[in-house]
């Protein structure tokens, strides 16, 4: 089997508190050696001078759309997009058709992934049967089939009773319960963040309170049950306060924030003149929330970043704002968007940045990876912290193009992605 030698890179691996110039030797799909100036006659050598070499980035919140919505994305296209975005693994949400609420669908996803995926795929199973929010799905069976976490993502778990039971039941397997926090009667038929911008645009608002009410409820239930709660796509200052308090109490509560909630405010809807690529759920928030989120990432309250990659066909988005589906793609822009914002603009230490994308998600979701320790699978993300380029959706590997980042010039692009020792992406 092949040998790969990545030379002269800056190795940033928070799992070993490493940040130094090292060579990385990969043999038989595993990290074989980390040292200065390795030579190996039989290895393919990659010169990583000026590049950052990090443990593979993991996106714990992705919609791969297969089975059921293959016109939006497939496991093959979505994982190719992941690889091109610097991700070596993704967790895929269960709102497919059929829903991933039983081991047959979990196995199907994993079988398709073995056959066609460019990156590792970890299925997230449904909390409730059919995402209907009524009865628990076969969580144990899905764990056995390979599901790593459970969520009704796309929908909140409205019933507090069901949420309590899901959290309790998860203790048996010690898997995280991931909640899309949204109180539906408060969110109503809103299409953007409720506030002055929505008022000016005449669009129905989704109040920050719709999310916060649910996050607080979940924190209370996490305390009651002692289970692991992970708040998906957290987007408001109040939600962050709830998570902060939960952590201070020692509860097993974690959260993720998406790149777009850090990069845009609700003003983007106005500036783009109702561009439906600024419509997602949770919505882009007002500046005070965005500032709080950035602060939360910098101070560590936010455990990890995740894209909520939500591909939609162009025809579905090319309609009136009210009628367009929520969601944007994120895999192929996440790294430069967050690097440019957090590391360049806000001076976040590189090791903390890598932790947010790799070490932390691996730890929270108990995934292999998130480390370059000798003997671990060779999942490696190599990116160029100096490279500046313009986002061109025409070049996406994803089947969908619904991004608000089109035309943005960003810094810090992935240049090579290695999964299990195999190079799955190399920037041309």
């Amino acid at each position: 089997m092949s040998r790969l030698l990545i030379k002269n890179g800056r190795v940033v691996d928070p799992s070993q508190k490493l940040d130094e110039g090292l060579d990385v030797l990969v043999v038989e799909g595993k990290i074989a050696r980390l040292a200065e100036r390795i030579t190996d006659k039989d290895a393919e050598v990659v010169d990583a001078t000026g590049l950052v070499v990090a443990p593979g980035f993991i996106d714990v919140h992705v919609h791969l759309r297969e089975p059921g919505y293959e016109y939006k994305e497939t496991i093959a296209s979505g994982t190719r997009a992941a690889a091109a975005g610097g991700f070596t693994a993704v967790c895929c949400m269960p709102n497919t058709n059929p829903v991933n609420d039983n081991p047959a669908v979990t196995e199907f996803i994993l079988a398709r992934a073995r056959h066609a995926a460019a990156a590792r795929v970890y299925p997230v199973g449904a909390i409730s049967k059919g995402l209907a929010g009524e009865e628990l799905a076969e969580i144990g069976e899905m764990v056995r089939a390979g599901a790593v976490a459970f969520s009704d993502d796309g929908k909140p778990v409205v019933s507090s009773y069901l949420m309590r039971r899901a959290l309790e039941y998860s203790l048996l397997f010690d898997v995280p319960i991931v909640d899309h926090c949204e109180e539906p009667t408060l969110a109503g038929r809103g299409v953007m963040h409720e506030g002055a911008v929505a008022t000016r645009l005449g669009l129905r608002g989704i109040p920050a309170a719709a999310e916060e009410v649910m996050v607080w409820r979940d924190v209370v239930l996490a305390e009651l049950t002692g289970a692991r709660l992970h708040v998906a796509h957290l987007s408001t200052a109040g939600s962050l306060a709830a998570v902060r308090q939960a952590k201070a109490k020692g509860l097993r509560v974690s959260c993720e924030v998406t790149p777009h909630h850090l990069a845009f405010t609700d003003q983007a809807v106005a500036e783009s003149n109702y561009d439906t690529n600024t419509k997602m759920n949770p919505p882009l928030r007002a500046a005070e929330h965005v500032e709080a989120l950035v602060e939360g990432v910098l101070d560590g309250t936010v455990d990890c970043l995740a894209t909520d990659h939500a591909p939609h066909h162009g025809d579905e988005k090319n309609v009136e704002f009210d009628k367009a589906p929520f969601g944007i793609v994120g895999l192929e822009t996440a790294l430069p968007v967050t690097f440019d914002l957090l590391v360049v603009k806000h001076r976040m230490p590189l090791s903390r940045f890598v932790a947010c994308w790799s070490t932390n998600p691996a730890r929270l979701f108990r995934l292999p990876g998130g480390t370059l320790k000798v003997g671990s699978p060779a999942d490696i993300t190599v990116f160029n912290p100096e490279l500046r380029a313009v986002v061109n959706p025409e070049k996406f590997f994803s089947l969908s193009r619904n991004t608000p980042f089109a035309g943005k010039r960003l810094r810090g692009w992935p240049v090579m992605t290695v999964v299990g020792g195999k190079v799955v992406y190399r920037r041309a």
Binding site: E194, A196, L201, G202, L203, N273, Y274, N318, V319, E320
Partner: protein, 318 residues
């Protein structure tokens, strides 16, 4: 201090009041004043838009605005095509973009659009060569309504500057209030709004108005009271207890009108719900200028069409 009119409109679309400068608003109002005269001639027609085609794309019920645009177009000698949702391709599931592209293939010069969703005219403006005129987009804007309201006030009062205008009713669901607050505040009027707190959108004051909950506080000593229709069809869920209680708290009655200035103008964009937000004695009373608003609507729409077609601030002649 009156605002100096602009020489022409910058944009070829009228998507809302928000993108307009005070000078542009002044230009439209000045031009509209001249247009009023045409309606008084024995032959109510000028050739300004001869050979131009206007599509009236009305995808939401409308009588007043649709007729008003059509009369305006005809008085300017434009050819008009009327499109409504029922009995059209829209009912067969065609998207707005496709409908518009198909209409555009027939090379109209203007598309006047009324649509239930905010931003629909903006979406068309991004893809069409024709000038797009917003004739009301959901709960967003209704720019020609605000312009005709402003013209009505100006004709009665000489200027908008310093006028105290109270707008009362369902603020949440009203495109009329958004356009009016933007326009009037930009032209130096003092705008107050009032409505049940459950129908006041967040950040309303940032549009340029003072927000009151009690109607009496808003109309006290006002120069103009503008009543908004309670939009029962847009209430997804009840935002106030009953129509009866609403009348009790927010209807313009002769007793309440006494709080305003003696010569206060009473306005309503129509259609009125008599006995809900306005008492008939007020609607039909001496202070009401509700029908003048309708007359001025034609003049304002003529002015907008004329200016978007490239007309400048000189007199319209035939």
């Amino acid at each position: 201090m009156s605002v100096k009119p602009a020489r022409a409109l910058k944009s070829r679309h009228l998507l809302g009041i928000d993108p307009l400068t005070p000078g542009e608003i002044q230009l439209i109002l000045d031009t509209a004043e001249q247009m009023r005269e045409i309606a008084k001639r024995p032959i109510k027609k000028v050739p300004a838009l001869r050979g131009k085609t206007v599509v009236n794309l009305f995808l939401e019920p409308s009588t007043r605005t649709r007729f008003s645009f059509e009369v305006a177009e005809k008085r300017l000698s434009a050819d008009t095509l009327n499109f409504s949702a029922s009995g059209s391709s829209v009912e067969k599931g065609e998207t707005l973009i496709d409908t518009a592209r198909n209409l555009e293939a027939m090379e109209p010069d203007f598309i006047v659009i009324r649509h239930p969703h905010p931003g629909a005219p903006h979406m068309l403006a991004k893809v069409l060569k024709a000038s797009v005129i917003n004739a009301g987009d959901g709960t967003h804007e209704h720019p020609t309504q605000a312009l005709l309201d402003a013209l009505t006030i100006r004709l009665r009062r000489g200027s908008l500057e310093g006028q105290v205008v109270a707008i009362v009713g369902d603020l949440q669901h009203s495109r009329v209030v958004r356009s009016n607050v933007l326009l009037l505040s930009r032209m130096g009027a003092q705008v107050r709004v009032a409505g049940p707190p459950s129908l006041v959108p967040l950040g309303m004051e940032k549009l340029g108005c003072q927000v009151f909950y009690r109607m009496e506080d808003a109309i006290r000593d006002a120069d103009v009271v503008m009543m908004l229709r309670i939009q029962l069809e847009r209430q997804e869920r009840m935002n106030f207890p009953t129509v009866r209680e609403y009348y009790d708290l927010f209807a313009l009655t002769p007793e309440r009108l006494k709080l305003a200035k003696k010569d206060c103008l009473v306005m309503h964009p129509g259609p009125m719900n008599r006995g809900v937000e306005i008492d008939s004695r007020v609607a039909d009373g001496p202070q009401s200028v509700i029908l003048e608003q309708v007359t001025n609507g034609v003049a304002v729409r003529m002015a907008v069409l004329y200016l978007l077609a490239g007309g400048r601030g000189e007199p319209v002649t035939d």
